[in-house]
Structures are given as structure tokens and as C-alpha cells.
Amino acid sequence: MGGALMHSPYFLTILTFLPLAGTLALLLLPSNDHMWIRRVALVVSLLEFALSLLLLRGFALDSAAYQFVEFRNWIPTPPIHYHLGVDGISLFLVLLTTFLTPISILASWKSINQHVRGFFISLLVLETGVIGVFVSLDLFLFFLFWEAMLIPMYFLIGIWGHERRIYAAVKFIIYTMLGSILMLVAMIWLYQVTGSFDLQQIQTMLVTGQVTLSLRTEILLFAAFLLAFAIKVPIFPLHTWLPDAHTEAPTAGSVMLAGVLLKMGTYGILRFCVPLFPEAAHRAAPYVAVLAIIGIIYGALVAMVQPDLKRLVAYSSVSHLGFVVLGLFAFDPTAVQGALYQMLNHGVSTGALFVLVGMLYDRRHTHLIPEYGGLATPMPVFAAFFLFVSLSSAGLPMLNGFIGEFLILNGTFLHHMGWAFAGAVGVILSAVYLLWAYQRVFYGPVTKDENRTIPDADHRERLILAVMAALILWMGIGSVSFTRRTEASARNVFMLMQRPQAYNARVASVPSHTPFSGAARSGGVR
């Protein structure tokens, strides 16, 4: 059965839209039957995860080409295709999404009691949107998923979030829209020049020199794309929506937001910004790297002084994603591999941290660190898991975080020693803020009476945490099983950055392709 599905020409379509189909099942259930709604949502998401594992089985190792490709005509004018495919860059991001969705559903098992059906529908629609972003190979299709996925996230924050949820939800959506609408303009501009919305086609045209962008055009297009992605990542100073959105979102929302939504930004940089506009990327690299380093250090410093545990984790995301961006703009295959790996690490570790913080919130309804203290006594199992995840996030060797940071710093060091040094400061700081927070929450005497009787992790919570901890450990010691699948694609990015002639020799040419040309015009009566 699995094999048949895997070889089906619709495999990626099924993978993308299965969660959406699952929402139909949820709509058939009565809206007050909360238990069955949760169960069906969980089954759908587990089925989706199982399906996505087939990707691993069918994925050819040494190929940088897109696999499981689907290509169908969709809109005739302008030519837009339904073009899906997976390569080493998107493979694990898809898996991360399908992995974190059941985790999110399990994590919200008890904490969501209002409008339960709407909640799980939003979560599943979000999953479809995010997977769609990662598998789309047509700019238009990509944009469609990119924007469409805002709506479920907006509802997740706005309806099921905490006190300032509406402010956070609106801020989130407006920030993202501001960046992405300019990206749309850039996409259409690119289409005017190349006559295509197809990523592969455009890429081929650029690599073979069939189409050349003038430097000015390239820089403008790069800037528009980068702005959209930088807001999503977020790169300092565009990060201000993130702490609010993360803090106000319900646990599942934070997990998905930190786990996969931020990766859409770094994925976009790696998939579009760098290979499509290499010269602009090279010129911008020093500036972006400086912003990334500021983000690493600033995020860590702000995280250190946060009294709010969830905000602390949110700012740690700014810091960690700074590493990813640094790795991407070092233009080194090792660093790119590291950046890819760090995206996954951050998804799993920070996802787990948000789950843990959410569990504390379920018990005490506060995120404030001073409200806790000495929790290791009443909840030893929980404390152990928390420590394990914190250490992974801080980059302890043998755990996942270390591999990513090491690869990034290693690759960066070869080209830009200074960047690597500055980045390394962030590694130290991350240990400081995480362990300090851990110490304040779990060690020492129990300071509040409410905390004496606080229950330890129950079976459901232990299951979630054990699965995540196992993955963290596996990614720490078995990293080869990941990197050998991403290697070919990471190297391929540098092939795609090749251009046939040097930039300075180029005339500022704007090819005069005109859309809707040919058939449409000649058929008229003009």
C-alpha cells in the first residue's frame, strides 16, 4: 500500500491536502463531541506523518534534482503551473511539519476546551498550508500557500491565545503581509523579465544565460524577496512581531510558529533569494550577516533578562535563527548544511521548549519565572526533560543543537573568521540564559505554596516529551542519516548560483518579453 502510494503521480498532492481533507471529517462530527474531534484530528495528523515517512523511503540520496515531481497546467494566462517537488532542502522541513503537527495536537489535548473543532481545523489547515509552501515549485503557487497559511495562524493566535492575543494576531498578519505583498510585486516583475512563474524554468534560464537581469533589477528583486523572508525568519530589526505572537499564541500555535513557520523564511532565502539573485546576495551578504550577528547576540541578551519564560524562549528563537541566516550567507556548503540542520534542530528543540512551557502554564496559568522555583522536587520527571531539552537548545555535544551550530561556525570560519567569532559568543550566551532560567525555575527551595503539590508529567505528556527527546538524541548522534540526504541539494545551491558571464561585463538589459503575447494577441480583431 505504501509503495503504491509512493509511486503514485499524486503523492505530493495527497501529502499536501490530506490534512485539509481531514478537516472535512472534523466538520462531520458534532461540534460538542470534543473527545472524538481530538481523536480524529490526531489520527489524521499521524496518518499524515506516516505518509510523509514514505518520502524518506523513496528519496534518492545523491540527487539534487526535485523528486516526486508533479507538473500540471493550471492557469493558462499568465502561464502558471501546479508544480510540486521535493529535494534535500525541503525534504526534512516537510517531515518536521508532519512531525510537529501531531505533537501540537497532543499538547493541546487538555488545554483547549473552547471552540475545539475550530481549533483543530485551523491546525490542520495550517499544516496543509505549510507543506504547500515547502513543496511548491511555482512562484505563484508558493505565494498562494505562503499567504493562505496566514489565516489559520491568525485565528489560532487570535481566538485561542492569551490576554493580548488580538494585538499579537493583527501584528503578526500585518507584518507578514507587508513583506509578502512586495514579494508578489517582485515575482510578477521577474515574470515580466523571464516569461515564467516556474522556479525551475527561471533558474535554468538564469544559469544558462538565456535571460540576464541587470544588476539594478537583481538587487531590487533580491531586496523585495529578502524583506518578505526576513520578516518571517525574523532577522533583526524586523523581529518585533515575534515575541508578541509567540507569547500570546496557545502552545500549539507557538510550536508550529517556532517549529515550522519561521523556517519558511530561511527556506525562502535558500530556495529563492540566494540561487536566483547570487550577485545581489553576495553584495548584501556582509550587511545581512551583521544583522544576523546582532540578532544572535541581541536575542540572547534580551532572552536573558526576560521574566516571562515564554518570551524567553521566543527571544531565543531570534538568536537561533540568526545562526541559520549567518550560515546561509556564508556561501559555504558546510555552513549551508549546518543552516539546514539548525532549522530542524530549532524546530524540534524550541518546539519542545514551548511544549514544556505550555505544560507549566496548564498547571499554574502563568509564564512568569518568579512564580516558579524549586520545581525539581515536586516534578522530577518533568525537570529532567526540561534540562535535556535546554541543553540541546544550548548546543551540548551529542545532542542536536551542537551539530548545527558547529557546522555553521565551521563553514563560516573558513571565509569570515570575524563572523564566526561573533557568532560563537551567541553559543555561550545561549547556555547562560537557558541554564540560568532553568536554575531559577527548578532548583532551590520551593518558594510558592501552590508549587508544592504541582503534579508531575502525566502519561500523555511523558509520551510527547519522550518522543521529542528521542529525536533530539538521534539527531545528535545520527546526524549522518540527515546530512547525507541534504548534501547534494546544499551543494547544488552553489551550482545554481553560477552565471555564464561576469556581472561587470553585462549591459543593463531588460529583455522585452511581454506577457499574454503571441496567441492571445494574434487571435484578436485589432
Binding site: P78, W146, I166, I174, M177, L184, I188, R521, G524
Partner: protein, 485 residues
């Protein structure tokens, strides 16, 4: 003396509409109050037949009545839009009129006559004919705006609309006169060059005045001032009609002049550019400050006129007129669907004498009436232009047209405006979905007729948002069917 058969058949939709309107007026006195509902069915059948009969002009394009009308793909496209709008408004009005106790045949007749006028505007190849169409549609809508006779706001609305609208048509008429003076003809196709030397300025002035007149009708800044008051005061279904139908017809006329008269393209370009920018910003910023849903939607339709003006500017700018025209046409279809859906929804939810029109009245609507709220949210998201809704593709085509004409700044300003607009559309969604329910009024039942209209509008919003291919091809054909400069 009788005109040739083809000419009559080409005008078949308008003839059917006119006859249905007359029939409605004649038949009404013979019906007692209880049986007035028949009028809706008659009006709907009449409009439906007219809509169906557009097949003939679509298959047999050509001129009619000594060349005063030019029935081509373009005119048919616009006629289908305005007649579909009329049909949906007729169906969606029935329950509203019952509730307000103004169920009369003349209401439907006026809608039908207005539609005739719009159809003539869309197909006029000659300026006097265009003027007659404009007046037919305008006068009918003046009366419709005041249809809640005993409500002062409705009267105020009609009065403002009438006075300012009369000014606008006067400008338009004077423009025609000057153009005639300059070129010696009112036939658009013959208006290539001024006949007398030194008449260029006369032609320019004539064109400017015509632009002013039509600018009023499409609510383009700086001629948009009447819109919020009139839209707010008029009965909500009439607002649905005004916001989508006459606007489409006026844009059609603008396009036809633009595409036919060479001087218009060059002379109008900067006026259109500035007006587009002004209209977008004025509409969006004013909408931000509104607390009344109807007024907010009124300002939002001003901003949408601005978006369409961007495409119009693109048509005026380049030799790629067809691309801009097709973008305008596609957006008109999209816009009519979503705006009509939103206003019909509001007309029903507003309750008796439109009591619940504040945004705050919609608090927690999603908990009380989830399906209705989802439907309204869909229209709002489409107006906002989020993907998988029609509004996104409409905007996408406008962007494409603008960038094809190298109007990069205009495209960027349009992008910025889309984000500004997000604030007020999202606010309504926030109120509906994220606030505690407002229990001060009972849930409003959705009668089947309104449900039908909303379903069609919602389905259309999805269809045009996901599968634009067919309609865009038609819009492109329509654009290419224009005579060309």
C-alpha cells in the same frame, strides 16, 4: 423604417429587461399585498432571460442601429456582469423589502431599467447614446436610493446623489459638446484627430470634462465625496447594486473611450495616475476610521475603484491596452461578486430598519451564526485580497498589467494600500471571531433567497480565486474585441 432583425436581436437583453420592467409596473395594481411576492419571481425571470439572451450578441457581434451601438465581446462581458448583479440583487432584495414594508413592483422595474442603462453604456459607440445610457441608469438609481421613503437618511442620500450626480452628468454632457466641436463627430471611432487646427485643446478639454463626469460615477478621488453618505443612506440591497453595477458600466465606458480615442490615452494618463493614487489612499485611510459597517464598505469601494484605476492607467500607458483592459474587466467581475455578497449579507444581518450596522453589533457573530460569519469573512478576505479568493487574483492581474506597463511605483503604492486595507477588514473579522458574543439582539434567520445569493457569491469568489483561466480568457477576448486606437 423598422431596423434590421440582427440589430434588434443584438439588443435583445435590453429589450427583455425593458419589457419585464413595464410588465412589472402594469401588473402590480392587480396583485393584493399577499401576492406581491410574485413580483420578485417575475423580475428574476426577466433578468434571467436577459442574461441568457446575451448568447445572441455574444455569437453575433457587430454594430446596431446605424452604428450608435457596438456589440462586441467587451460589451457582452460587461453586460453579463451588470445583469448578473441585477439578478442577484433582485433575489436578495425580496426579504429586505418585506421587512421594510416597501415591496413594490416599481422597485424591481427600476433595477431593470437601471440595468438597461448600464448595458447601453457598455455598448455605446457614440457619445450621445452613452449619455442616454448613463442617464437611464443614474435616474433609476436616484429613485432607488430614496426607496425607504420615510427614512430621512435615505432621502438625504438620494438628494445628495441626485444633485451631485446631475452635476456630473452635466460635466459629461459639456465634455461631449466640446469634443463634438473639436472633431465634428460624436462617433468614438471617427474621433481620431481634431478636424480644425487649434482644436486640440478643445478636444483635450472635452476629454477632461468627460473624465470628470465619469470620475463621479466611479467614485474616483477627488470626486468621491458623495459615496459614503449615499451608500450609507440607501437601502442596503440598493447599495449592493450601486457599488457593483453602475460602477462596472462607467468603467466600461471609460475603457471604451480610452481604447478607441487615441488622444484620451495620452491626455488622461497622468490624470488617471494621480487619481488612482489619491483614490486608493483616501478610500483606505477613511475606511480605517469607520465604526459603521456600511460606511466602511463604502469607503472600501472607493479604494477598490482606485485599484481598478491602476489597471486603467496601465491600459492608458502602454501599447498593451488589452492587458490593462482585461485586468479591469476581471477585477470588475471579482469586485461585483464580493462587494455584492458583502452588502447583501449586511442588508440581512442589519435587521429591521437596518438597526445593526455598527461593527460592534457583529461581536462574536461567529459563535452565534458560524456559517453566516464565515461567509462574510470570506468576502472580507477577498476584498483584502488574500490568496485562494477572487480578490487576490483580481489584484494579481492588476499588478501584472501595471508592471507590464512599467508602472512600478503605482504597483508599489497599490501594494502598500493592500496592507493598509488589512487593518479595517481584519478588524471586522476580529470582532466577529475573537470577541465575546453580543447578546443584545437575537440571531437573524437567513431566508433561502439571501442564502442562495450569498452561496452564489461565495462560490464565485472561490471559483475566480482558484480557476481564473476561463474567465480571464473571456476578458482577454473582450479586451481584444475593442476597436483599438
Amino acid at each position: 423604417m423598422f431596423p434590421p432583425r440582427e440589430d434588434v436581436l443584438r439588443l435583445l437583453p435590453e429589450i427583455i429587461l425593458t419589457l419585464s420592467g413595464i410588465l412589472l409596473m402594469v401588473i402590480e395594481p392587480f396583485l393584493n399585498r399577499a401576492r406581491r411576492k410574485i413580483l420578485v419571481s417575475l423580475a428574476a425571470i426577466g433578468t434571467g432571460l436577459a442574461l441568457a439572451s446575451t448568447v445572441y450578441p455574444a455569437l453575433h457581434p457587430g454594430t446596431a442601429f446605424s452604428g450608435v451601438l457596438r456589440i462586441d465581446g467587451f460589451s457582452v462581458f460587461v453586460q453579463v456582469i451588470v445583469q448578473a448583479v441585477a439578478l442577484l440583487v433582485v433575489i436578495g432584495s425580496a426579504d429586505y423589502l418585506d421587512r421594510e414594508r416597501i415591496q413594490h413592483g416599481e422597485y424591481y422595474a427600476l433595477i431593470l431599467f437601471a440595468t438597461v442603462g448600464m448595458g447601453v453604456m457598455a455598448s455605446a459607440a457614440e457619445l450621445m447614446t452613452a449619455f442616454v445610457g448613463l442617464e437611464t441608469s443614474s435616474i433609476s438609481t436616484y429613485v432607488l436610493a430614496s426607496y425607504r421613503r420615510d427614512v430621512p437618511r435615505s432621502n438625504e442620500s438620494a438628494m445628495k446623489y441626485f444633485l451631485l450626480g446631475s452635476f456630473a452628468t452635466a460635466f459629461f454632457l459639456y465634455g461631449i459638446a466640446l469634443t463634438y466641436g473639436a472633431t465634428g463627430t460624436t462617433q468614438l471611432a471617427l474621433m481620431k484627430f481634431p478636424t480644425a487646427s487649434g482644436a486640440e485643446h478643445l478636444l483635450d478639454l472635452g476629454l477632461a470634462l468627460m473624465l470628470v463626469g465619469l470620475g463621479f460615477k466611479i467614485a474616483a478621488a477627488p470626486f468621491q465625496l458623495w459615496t459614503p453618505d449615499v451608500y450609507e443612506g440607501a437601502p442596503a440591497p440598493v447599495t449592493a447594486l450601486m457599488a457593483s453595477g453602475p460602477k462596472a458600466a462607467a468603467f466600461a465606458l471609460l475603457l471604451r473611450i480610452l481604447a478607441t480615442v487615441a488622444a484620451a490615452g495620452t491626455f488622461w494618463f497622468w490624470a488617471l495616475w494621480i487619481s488612482a493614487v489619491l483614490t486608493m489612499f483616501v478610500g483606505n485611510f477613511a475606511a480605517l476610521a469607520q465604526s459603521n459597517v456600511k460606511r466602511m464598505l463604502a469607503y472600501s469601494s472607493i479604494s477598490h475603484a482606485g485599484y481598478i484605476l491602476v489597471a486603467l492607467t496601465a491600459a492608458a500607458a502602454s501599447d498593451q491596452v488589452a492587458l490593462g483592459v482585461a485586468a479591469v474587466l476581471y477585477y470588475l467581475a471579482v469586485y461585483a461578486l464580493m462587494k455584492l455578497g458583502a452588502f447583501i449579507f449586511v442588508s440581512q444581518l442589519g435587521g429591521e430598519s437596518e438597526r445593526h450596522m455598527e461593527i460592534d453589533d457583529f461581536r462574536g457573530l461567529a459563535m452565534r451564526q458560524p456559517v453566516a460569519a464565515a461567509c462574510f469573512a470570506l468576502f472580507l478576505l477577498s476584498l483584502l485580497g488574500l490568496p485562494i479568493t477572487a480578490g487576490f487574483l483580481g489584484k494579481f492581474y492588476i499588478f501584472t498589467a501595471a508592471l507590464a506597463s512599467r508602472l512600478i511605483w503605482l504597483a508599489i503604492l497599490l501594494a502598500i494600500n493592500s496592507v493598509i486595507a488589512a487593518f479595517y477588514y481584519l478588524r471586522v473579522i476580529v470582532v466577529m471571531y475573537m470577541c465575546e458574543p453580543n447578546q443584545s439582539w437575537p440571531p437573524v434567520p437567513m431566508p433561502w433567497a439571501v442564502t442562495l445569493v450569498l452561496t452564489i457569491a461565495a462560490a464565485g469568489t472561490f471559483y475566480l480565486g482558484l480557476f481564473p483561466g476561463r474567465v480571464m480568457a473571456l476578458a482577454m477576448q473582450a479586451a481584444l474585441s475593442l476597436p483599438g486606437r
